[in-house]
């Protein structure tokens, strides 16, 4: 068996497109996750009995089942119930976003709890409404506290976007699989793909460490 590392360069546009889709998928899923996570965290802390249970059930169920099962469930079953005809990409965004949302909700819950209650009392005493107290006083402090955890979750998501290839999303792993069947250069192709993911995640984790250092210096 002859190794031809050149195939990576030859198909660079194809691979880079896959990498761009991976990044895009991760970013949109992250945005969805934030939209889901904050209300879920608030629901778990301040909601009534039913809301609290529902939010808790969502978080526990997502964390207790494989992301792949969630992806298949959402991609295949949502259209059955709603008649919606969606692309694999949107299926993957929703599935990964809801998955990350559960993990981020746990982070936000800890973050919101870490904000001293005196902050809320002070804000209310100054005449802020409950909504502005949360939005302008509690959430910014909580976010600062949970940012490292959120970024770590994001790195996990970045790697987990690879499962979207199983439903046919043209991201990096999918591109690798196609390239493998086209060239039979398995070692070169999969090592190359793994290397690209490694670069993405090392950049991301280096920025987490940097952020932690900057925060530590400020505190």
């Amino acid at each position: 068996m002859e190794f031809r590392p050149g195939v990576l360069w030859e198909y660079r546009v194809f691979l880079l497109q896959g990498m761009a889709n991976t990044a895009w998928l991760a970013l949109v899923a992250q945005a969805l996750a934030l939209v889901v996570a904050v209300p879920t965290a608030v629901a778990r802390l301040r909601g009534g009995a039913v809301i609290r249970r529902l939010a808790g059930g969502y978080v526990e169920f997502v964390r207790g089942t494989p992301a792949l099962t969630q992806l298949f469930w959402i991609f295949y079953c949502i259209p059955i119930f709603t008649g919606l005809d969606w692309s694999p990409l949107w299926g993957a965004i929703v599935a990964l976003g809801l998955n990350l949302g559960a993990y981020d909700a746990e982070a936000f819950r800890a973050g919101i709890q870490s904000v001293h209650f005196g902050q809320v009392q002070a804000a209310r005493a100054l005449g802020l409404s409950a909504w502005s107290t949360f939005w302008a006083v509690v959430l910014p402090q909580a976010t600062r506290f949970v940012l490292p955890a959120l970024l770590n979750n994001f790195i996990g998501l970045l790697l987990y976007t690879s499962i979207a290839s199983t439903i046919g999303v043209h991201e990096l792993t999918y591109a690798g699989g196609k390239l493998n069947t086209a060239t039979f250069q398995s070692v070169v192709v999969f090592s190359g793909v793994a290397g690209l993911y490694l670069v993405l995640s090392l950049i991301a984790s280096a920025s987490v460490r940097r952020l932690e250092r900057v925060q530590a210096r400020r505190d």
Binding site: R63, F72, T173, S186, S191
Partner: protein, 220 residues
């Protein structure tokens, strides 16, 4: 939108398929965890070593397995091991190896974190009392570290279970693979994926609940 009728009889009809998948999942899970514990202890202690010959390669293993998707690792092992080492491995063995190394990397970091979390003074005190370095490690540092390692190890066990579902993509006939096959035979997507998710959840739940109790007790 038409009203969807749930047909659980189709799931019951193929229960043996799901059950055989569940057994393979359990096998994968236990073997990958066992390999992960042994491998994790090795790379974790290796990374802590002051000798660069040990610390460097083990750090690289940890970073590579933590920095790449487990799905790509599975593909890599599945396609590349036979080429590189001229061996023929079954899909199950490939998955055990791949998932075992994946969990080794994470367990390695847990071991390292656990040992580093024990205050330096403990080691110094044990040494001052005349214990040898090995004795101090065995009698003083490791017991304290292990207590702190339990919660993350349990959550790692849950993660490994969830990752075993990826082995379906290299044709390992585990639960996810059998679920997928069952849906392509019956087109009962909702029933099969829901039941399969519930099975995974039922396995995770006792671990998660125990984890909550541990965390609550240690005040984390």
């Amino acid at each position: 939108m038409s009203r969807y009728t749930i047909d659980l009889a189709s799931v019951w009809g193929l229960r043996e398929m799901l059950l055989s998948g569940l057994l393979v999942t359990a096998e994968l899970w236990i073997l990958a965890l066992a390999l992960g514990l042994v491998g994790g202890l090795t790379v974790g202690l290796g990374r802590l070593s002051r000798r660069k010959v040990l610390a460097w390669p083990t750090s690289c293993v940890i970073e590579v397995f933590r920095g790449t998707p487990p799905l790509v690792q599975l593909f890599w092992f599945y396609y590349c091991l036979p080429i590189l080492f001229d061996v023929r491995l079954s899909a199950v063995v490939t998955a055990v190896l791949s998932l075992g190394l994946f969990s080794s990397a994470y367990v390695g970091e847990i071991v390292r974190g656990g040992i580093q979390s024990v205050h330096k003074g403990q080691m110094q005190a044990a040494r001052a009392l005349g214990l040898s370095k090995l004795q101090a490690l065995r009698e003083v540092v490791i017991p304290q570290a292990v207590r702190r390692m339990w919660p993350p190890l349990m959550s790692q066990a849950v993660d490994v279970l969830k990752v075993t579902a990826l082995a379906s993509s290299i044709t390992v006939p585990e639960l996810m693979y059998q679920t997928y096959n069952a849906t392509s035979r019956t087109f009962r997507f909702v029933e099969f994926y829901t039941v399969s998710a519930l099975i995974y959840f039922a396995i995770c739940l006792p671990l998660v609940l125990r984890l909550r109790r541990l965390e609550w007790r240690s005040g984390v």
